[in-house]
Symmetry: C2
Subunit: 317 residues, 2 copies
């Protein structure tokens, strides 16, 4: 009898699911719509039905599905408790227990989606072969995950890896989405990078190909920086300074084997690593040995891969 793991990544619009022969990469990956708010109670049955239907299609028996992992966009604690999930309209619950029940008792482990994606990069992606990694996910916002000894650090309040809201600039006056001021997210997210470029355009007279554009994206700022545009380069210096501080903080606390940068912003590539490394070295003055910083490799699949790794951890116990 073969053994399969299932990885589930619940997003605000769609839920991705992958089926993995144990120890191997996904043999099937697909999406279903995420039911939420007034329909939230259906979410577990939807996922269970989708898994069983695909298993049947692949001629995998129910008894061959050994464990399931699920990532959710909320603060799941070390003990599996989720106080609430605002994005889905989900109240306090133990998601793993609910999904396990819908699956007729297959063991389930649950984690925060960003933490689970970080776990995916450690078991299948950019940090394969490492045990301790910190992931910064630079998208519209900034999330992350901390993996030590191959396990997610979820934390007492589910705040493990919430690196986007570390206050890296206590003197900032602009307000973050979270209501605080000076969070990493204000400098290292796609929206943060665009915000800083606009600030430089407004506050300086520097010539720039960004000047006069009514609207521009993070990608445009990065492209112009690569083309040598000084104002765009200044913008990436601000990005690198504050991300470098945040990376340094994780080095001086958990000192991981490797740092991974993921999320849409990292499509800009090496220029982001270079500027972050420069400042990280400055802010970890205490040592001449520096942590490697690399770009994530799994993209949007990190969630299902990480969930499969979470599922696998249930079988190790």
């Amino acid at each position: 009898m073969a053994a399969y793991l299932v990885g589930v990544d619940v997003g605000g619009t769609t839920t991705k699911i992958g089926i993995f022969p144990q120890g191997e990469r996904a043999i099937a990956a697909w999406e279903i719509p995420t039911r939420k708010f007034e329909e939230i109670d259906y979410i577990w049955e939807d996922i269970a039905s989708a898994i069983f239907a695909k298993a049947e299609e692949l001629k995998i028996g129910k008894e061959e599905l050994k464990a399931v992992g699920v990532g959710l966009p909320g603060p799941i604690r070390d003990d599996g408790f989720l106080p609430r999930c605002v994005n889905l309209g989900m109240g306090a619950c133990h998601p793993a227990d609910l999904l396990s029940k819908a699956l007729g008792g297959i063991p389930v482990a649950a984690g925060n989606d960003a933490n689970v994606a970080a776990l995916g990069e450690v078991y299948y992606g950019a940090a394969k072969g490492y045990q301790d990694a910190v992931v910064f996910t630079l998208g519209t916002g900034v999330g992350g995950g901390i993996i030590l000894k191959g396990r997610i650090v979820a934390g007492n309040r589910g705040l493990g890896g919430e690196v986007g809201h570390m206050v890296v600039n206590p003197d900032e006056e602009a307000v973050c989405n979270c209501g605080n001021r000076g969070c990493l997210e204000q400098y290292a997210s796609a929206t943060g990078i665009v915000r800083i470029a606009h600030k430089f355009l407004k506050e300086t007279d520097k010539a720039s190909s960004l000047r006069g554009l009514e609207d521009f994206s993070c990608k445009t700022v990065c492209d112009e920086a690569k083309a040598g545009d000084e104002l765009a380069l200044d913008t990436l210096e601000v990005f690198g300074k504050y991300l470098g501080i945040a990376v340094a903080h994780t080095v001086l606390t958990v000192d991981p084997d490797i740092i991974i940068l993921g999320g849409g912003v990292t499509r800009a590539g090496q220029i982001l690593i270079d500027v972050t490394e420069k400042y990280m070295k400055e802010f970890t003055h205490l040592t001449n040995e520096h942590v490697p910083i690399v770009i994530a490799t799994l993209g949007n699949d990190a969630g299902i891969y990480g969930s499969a790794a979470l599922a696998a951890s249930l079988l190790d116990q």
Copy 2:
């Protein structure tokens, strides 16, 4: 046959040693001089002889000494390797192996002294009963330790828990002992607190009982703050702001069960907790649930207690 653990805390001047019946508090604790620099090779034999002599005195047989833990003032990595220990003039080595050899094969585990002291507070002190804790040791400098799942987070380069050199104020102009600028140590150590008070005396005209004193200690600043001196209170606000940021960083990365403040500075008591908590809450805006902050209880004995806990971990394996 009874089982005993030994805790060893190697300092720059003296080495403390404690003997612990397994699962109990120390039944003997004493000090020997630390040999270092040109005499560094004698250090392991000195410790071994001292342990055996005391065991004989206590009528404990060698075979009843089950495991030894040792804390050293250097960056000991997860794998037990110490690249160098500047304070002792010790070169690259595996301290646990060397001490075990001197002890005729008794199993030994080694750790960084600040990390080991943190472990002591978790197993025997202020965080007894908790699994995940972050300790900030506020002395002449600032050290610390991170304990997750009851184990030290030592890190890839032995930088785990080096919280004193997190850059909490990237705009600082004064230089830290480490050569960087804006480290926590510049605000939260005894010398840091005195430095800030002097800065306020120089840069403001505020009346203060500290004004005119040629020299004053951290204790005096804290005492004057408690007596209502405004300039001393301003000084503690700076302390609290930057320590609060550092505490918040650890909450948004490893999210521990409890934060412990140790070291000589904490003799000032509750006033330090209050000002740190105020800022920690501000800088963990993301949550309404806050980590408790408490003062360490083991004082200078934390090292031998933590080493005994480290020794105990060898027997669990």
